[in-house]
Amino acid sequence: MDDLLTVTDLEVGFQTDRGLARVLDSVNFHVGRGEIVGLVGESGCGKTTLARAILGVLPAISARISSGVIDFDGRNLLAEDPQGLATEVRGRQITFVPQDPFSSFNPVFTIGAQIDELMKWKSPDSEPAAAARFYPRARRRSDRARVLELLRTVQLPDPEGILKKYPHEVSGGQRQRLMIAMALLPEPKLIIADEPTTALDVTIQAQILKLLKRLAAGRGVSVLFTTHDLGTAYEICDRITVMYAGQEVESAPSDDFFAAPRHPYTKRLLESLPSREHGISGIPGQIPALIDPPSGCRFHPRCTSASERCAALRPGVTEAGPAHRIRCHHPVEAVREAAS
């Protein structure tokens, strides 16, 4: 299968005062071309760390990548020179939509100035190697036309006016539309959106998600979308990967995922969604500390199907169906929900 991004056996640790926190434990993950993948998990499950590892912007002082391969479009990002990645890949082939669109804009520059700076370095018309010490006038003009065009596409009113404004002068939804526009401007192959709607009102969330999905699909851009909210993932994702305590546990096409989850954690997670029949129910137990995590499958202390094998050995990746991969010794029986 021709995937755009394949992460294989990625191990990432964070040096802390109390020891090494093993935040990603041999994670396998992939994103197909033009595919929108939701990376779902609770806070601290490692989804943001995975996203940042792919971008190559883990904190240099504390993060340790001990093993693994991140294959993006035929190149192993972990083996390459970081400087080269910053100029050639980041902001060109992989772009980023941040969680908080307000604080991700510099408060003391106009929006136009910040978009100009991005286009100066990352315009699809520019050569990555040529250091943009100056910004050629012809390109500046064509870039400006491109920017205005895209601002209209993301349905921002009065694009010329917005470029002259400061970040605090536009609304939260508009700021995130701007961020999506900025992620699309360099014409990337992959957009990494790290909880892009968490900071927004619920009503605006849906609009932003639909916009992101429509634009990505229209341009054939892949999207890696992290969220802790299954509902959000359901709205826009082609496929969903679930992480628990630094391990990926299940990855399936969205329909399959919600209809027939195979991993006990996923099943419990879906059951814990508030519903009219059984109200709100949680999963007993607590998320483990990553300094000294449980051996084997990290979910086994909380899992009702767990056996000794689960504590001894982390299960390998098994195909549970078409494009449906799980890592579990005792998968839940694939019972299709009876017609309701």
Partner: protein, 334 residues
């Protein structure tokens, strides 16, 4: 428009602030146990002579009346006459203010031009040897007394090495006065020989004065840069692959300077306070030296005049800081 109204509002506040300052200085200088009249009259004056002198200077009247008369005079630009030289104080202040302002401006320029880049370097290479060296420098800059440093500089550079003048503002008479700022006046008339002499004399006092100011500028720039570098917008630009040097020197610095600029107003106040001793050591003919002499002679008209002018300078400096704040940070302008 809104900015203009705010500025005018601030300017109006100058009046009550200065009145308050005036009342305080007036009170302090009149309750200290010093008798300038006795000082002028000498040891052998008769009671009649002293009474005549008191009447002449208006100090025979009750203190509230004296205060009232003084305020009326100041409002008309009359700061009274010096009890010591009998010259109008306003003339003395006007002729000496430029020397102090010139020294202060050069010092603050020096501390900004050197302190800001060093602060940035210390922040981006945090805990490097440079950061540690600069930390020692900033702590000593704040801790060392200006007069002591001034004397050390004199001993080393003027006496021992002989590469700078010992004291004074210029060799000879100085340039034809236009603004009273010797650097500007000499450059204006193209008198480069005088310009060089003025600059040469300026080095030691300006460096002495800028030392603590530079330390403050550096500390605040470092803190500001550290703060900004951990912000989400830097993270975002990094994630989008914008080169780090562009992010630091263009985007981070602008944010970091908001705090530094705020400090500049306060630094200016310290600078003026230090100028008093530094001018005395370097025999710099500015207001500081004037103040020292006035205090030694219990010339309280002169002391009050000096305090008022310096208060006004300090308030105006902070007004300028507020205005430039609005220019750097669009959120302030509202």
């Amino acid at each position: 428009m809104r900015e203009l109204v705010l500025t005018l509002n601030r300017l109006l506040w100058l009046v009550p602030t200065l009145l308050g300052l005036l009342a305080i200085t007036f009170t302090i200088s009149h309750i200290i146990p010093a008798d300038p009249i006795a000082f002028i009259a000498g040891d052998n004056a008769s009671a009649e002579q002293i009474a005549a002198l008191k009447a002449k200077f208006g100090v025979d009247k009750p203190i509230p009346v004296q205060l009232w008369n003084y305020v009326i005079g100041v409002a008309q630009g009359d700061f009274g006459v010096s009890l010591y030289t009998q010259r109008p104080i306003a003339d003395d202040l006007v002729s000496r203010l430029p020397a102090t302002l010139e020294l202060a401006f050069v010092s603050i320029l020096l501390s900004a031009v050197i302190g800001i880049p060093l602060g940035v370097l210390a922040a981006i290479d945090r805990n490097s040897w440079l950061d540690h060296v600069l930390r020692v420098f900033t702590v000593s800059g704040l801790a060392i007394a200006a007069f002591w440093l001034a004397i050390l500089f004199q001993l080393l550079f003027a006496m021992e090495l002989g590469i700078t003048p010992l004291q004074g503002r210029v060799d000879g008479w100085g340039p034809e006065p236009v603004t009273g700022f010797f650097l500007i006046d000499s450059a204006w008339t193209g008198d480069w020989e005088t310009f060089r002499s003025v600059a040469h004399h300026m080095i030691l006092p300006a460096v002495t004065l800028s030392f603590p100011a530079m330390a403050t500028v550096m500390r605040f720039t470092r803190a500001g840069v550290l703060d900004a570098i951990n912000s989400n917008y830097v993270d975002y630009q990094n994630a989008m692959g914008v080169p780090r040097r562009v992010v630091v020197w263009r985007y981070v610095l602008r944010n970091a300077l908001i705090g530094t600029v705020t400090q500049l107003g306060l630094i200016f106040g310290n600078l003026i306070a230090n100028a008093v001793v530094v001018e005395a050591v370097f025999d710099w003919p500015g207001l500081g030296l004037y103040a020292v002499n006035s205090i030694l002679q219990s010339d309280y008209n002169a002391i009050m005049g000096f305090t008022l002018v310096m208060g006004a300078v300090f308030i105006i400096a902070n007004l300028l800081v507020d205005i430039s704040h609005g220019l750097i940070d669009p959120r302030e302008a509202g």
